[in-house]
Amino acid sequence: MPHATFSLRTLPPLLIVALVGLPVLAAIFAGLTAGDGATWDHILQNRLVPYTLTTLLVLLLSAIIMLGLAVPSAWLISQYDFPGRSIFSWAMILPLAMPGYVMAYAWADMMGVAGPIQSHIRDITGLSARDYWFPNLFSAPGLAFVLASTLFPYVYITARAAFSMQSLSTLEAARSLGAQPLELFWRVALPVALPTIAGGLCLALMEAAADYGAADFLGIQTLGVGIIRSWQSFGEPNTAARLALTLILIAGCFLIAARVFQGRRGTQETSVRWRTPTRSKLPPVMAAAVTALCSVILIVCFLAPIARLLWLALETSANAPDLWPLVRSTLMLGAMGAALAFVAALVFSLSSKRSETLRLATRLIAAAGYAAPGAVLGLGALFILRETGQALSGWVAIGFLVWIYVSRFTSAGVEPIQASLARLPKNLDLAAQSLGSTGLRQFARVDLPLIAPGAFAAALILFVEILKELPATLMLRPFGWDTLAVRAHAYATDERLAQATLPSLLIVLAGLAPVLLLSWRLGKSERS
């Protein structure tokens, strides 16, 4: 039914559009209508301008760091052979498994005055702590480093794809015209790959803008931190609403920019013959340097923080907190949220097959939820609660929290499902219908078995994303429903880092599952 107007079949997707869109719209509405007169001046001067500037500074710095980490390594890995290349090829995305806040805890501990790095420096040099300068993680550049080191794989993946897809003959043509290896990168490969890389960078920056945990722990006044502080500590809901509006604007801009860049891909390419580049062997000294560079990136962004957390967890295992209640509430919230978001994502994906208008609406709304940081959606939920006169407790709170999960993560589930739907032959529907299978029957017998791998990936991603979610959970969870993320954050900000390590490690462990799935797929696509 390509031209279905309003029927029972369009009802479920429309309901879900409303469900997913409402918290974002509530936050935007509150932001647009909040504050007047004297309070507005106060908000603008004391809150909005400084929080926004700090956020933009952090984003700018992390963009630079991410490009520096991701682009050269992606180029080297796609063009050259060196020891460990095939491992780095997929291992470079492992840092995605670390939520920003966990990375912040680990590096804060390692870089602290009593931490292993500074202790060694003092042991070796004989200086005392006041005699030397050491970078401070509790600063805007520190936060930028932490966010960049967990999010740079977004840029790495897109850069890898862009470099691998480049026509080999284009590079050979450049070489025949006298381009040296470095020139090849600057004058040909990078400019051609730039739109694709920019798309990945924008997505990573959107995620960075959504951070709350790392910024709060490091004491950096970003918009995400400001929203929750204004609501909870200052009792300024209007301020929170204005900050949320600004943050969603910033995140929305990045999402739109990412889509624009992704759309431009392809029109620029004229070459028809793709070949997997035959990687050239590097001379031994260069190869060693490149291996060292990739190792350092992997150690700094993944291995060292994990090792430090493990060490701390083992060292303090005697007085570890009782994790069982945390695990139980995390699993229950994750299961409820993932199940509902999965159904929503499935309905979205399937309904987009039916009507163009519906597809546009679902995509727009899902994207709005995706771009909206957890703090903004949490605020939207709080405004809805206030307007409806409900109290934030018990099952109402859990209902709202699950609702926010659905709103925030449905689009993360839509992408893998739609990717596997797109691979199905176009006339499959017609074939099934001609054999008398329609509607739900057709879905169960034809579509579902075929998209099962994509659906599994979607469910896994949803569950892990919810499990890592911090700001909305922090704002909405009822008493007794602390998750691993919430408790880890509470311990860490309480300067009880040792107790935060075990829940943090569990989060990373769960986060590794979808990342390993992704890296396995990347490896497969490289080999084929």
């Binding site: 026509s167 003959s169 284009t170 050979e172 043509a173 450049a174 070489r175 025949s176 015209l177 006298g178 381009a179 040296q180 004058r187 040909v188 400019p191 051609v192 730039l194 029109t267 620029q268 390419e269 004229t270 070459s271 028809v272 013959r273």
Partner: protein
């Protein structure tokens, strides 16, 4: 270039994973002449081009420009410093650069002001003046092709290598583009190699043809020589259709005219011309452009093929006579095609 040197492959061998792609090939590309390298896919023609260009290093043998060794046992001048122009089947234009920037890409040895005027000169020469500022994705196939040629010729290379440069083009425009492109190549006066699998292209447009098969050169010579005087059945069939007859089956009238003692004789179908008379029965006639391909029966058991112009269509079963051009009957030492 004041001194134009030939580009020479001297006993060049290259294998991949134990398979010989190029086996002891020697070939000289003379300045100002277009040498076509013709062969089937996998015959080693692209590998030989890549060896000339410096994209591959030979296992043994040498690549020389005049007396200068480009690749040898101890030397290998990389592609970046070899200054050999390349034109690819997919054109390989830089998608982020305009036509002018593409053509100017290899002109870094010039002053900035000269760069632009030099690029413009080549753009004009190839008839791209109106597309100067266009980007590759805005160009037609033929325009992309000419941009690629201008880009390869602009740095005044010591040789130019073209890897199936016309096979990606729409057949309707191919002839026109090919004329303009090869005229510019010839005018440059440098050695040029045209890799192709199109026999007609090689015959019409080159000064010299090298036929390559399974990594070895079967025959080298002018188009006239290699077409009319093939050294083997394989070489002959690389350039056009070839048919085989057992010598004992040759119609008695022709026996005297066809020299040689081999058990088999080979002929090009145009060696047979239809005349009035009788002796041959028409089996079928297929129109192939201006000429017809005619399948004939002789004596109820022998099938012969003729390629010629016929005034009107021949009915199957009609009796006709056939005369022959003995020069297009070949006698090789080999047993069959």
């Amino acid at each position: 270039m004041s001194t134009r040197q030939p580009l020479i492959a001297d006993q060049v061998t290259r294998s991949f994973a134990g398979r010989l792609a190029v086996n002891a090939i020697s070939l000289e590309l003379e300045p100002g002449k277009i040498t076509s390298l013709i062969g089937q896919s996998g015959s080693g023609k692209t590998t030989l081009l890549r060896l000339f260009a410096g994209m591959e290093r030979p296992d043994s043998g040498r690549i020389l420009s005049g007396e200068t060794v480009l690749s040898g046992a101890r030397t290998h001048i990389p592609i970046e410093t070899r200054n050999i122009g390349l034109v690819f089947q997919d054109f390989a234009l830089f998608p982020h650069l305009s036509v002018r920037e593409n053509v100017a890409f290899g002109l870094r040895h010039l002053q900035k002001s000269e760069r632009g005027s030099c690029a413009d000169m080549w753009i004009d020469k190839l008839g791209l003046a109106h597309r100067r500022d266009a980007f590759p994705h805005q160009l037609s196939g033929g325009e992309q092709q000419r941009t690629a040629i201008a880009r390869a010729l602009a740095p005044e290379p010591v040789a130019i290598l073209l890897d199936e440069p016309f096979s990606g083009l729409d057949p309707a425009m191919r002839d026109q583009v090919r004329e303009a492109a090869l005229a510019a190549v010839r005018e440059a006066g440098i050695p040029s190699l045209l890799v192709t699998h199109d026999a007609n292209e090689a015959l019409v447009h080159s000064d010299k043809i090298a036929i390559i098969d399974q990594g070895e050169v079967l025959q080298t010579g002018s188009p006239e020589t290699v077409y009319n005087h093939p050294v083997s059945a394989k070489a002959a069939s690389a350039l056009g259709p070839l048919h085989t007859l057992s010598r004992s089956d040759v119609p008695p009238d022709w026996q005297q005219m066809i020299n040689g003692a081999d058990e088999y004789v080979h002929y090009r179908p145009e060696a047979l011309q239809i005349t009035g008379g009788s002796g041959f029965r028409v089996v079928r006639q297929k129109l192939a452009g201006a000429v017809s391909e005619i399948e004939l029966d002789f004596g109820g058991s022998q099938t012969l093929f003729a390629m010629c112009q016929v005034g009107s269509s021949l009915q199957p079963g009609a009796e006709i006579g056939v005369s022959i051009n003995p020069a297009l009957f070949f006698d090789f030492a080999s047993k069959s095609v």
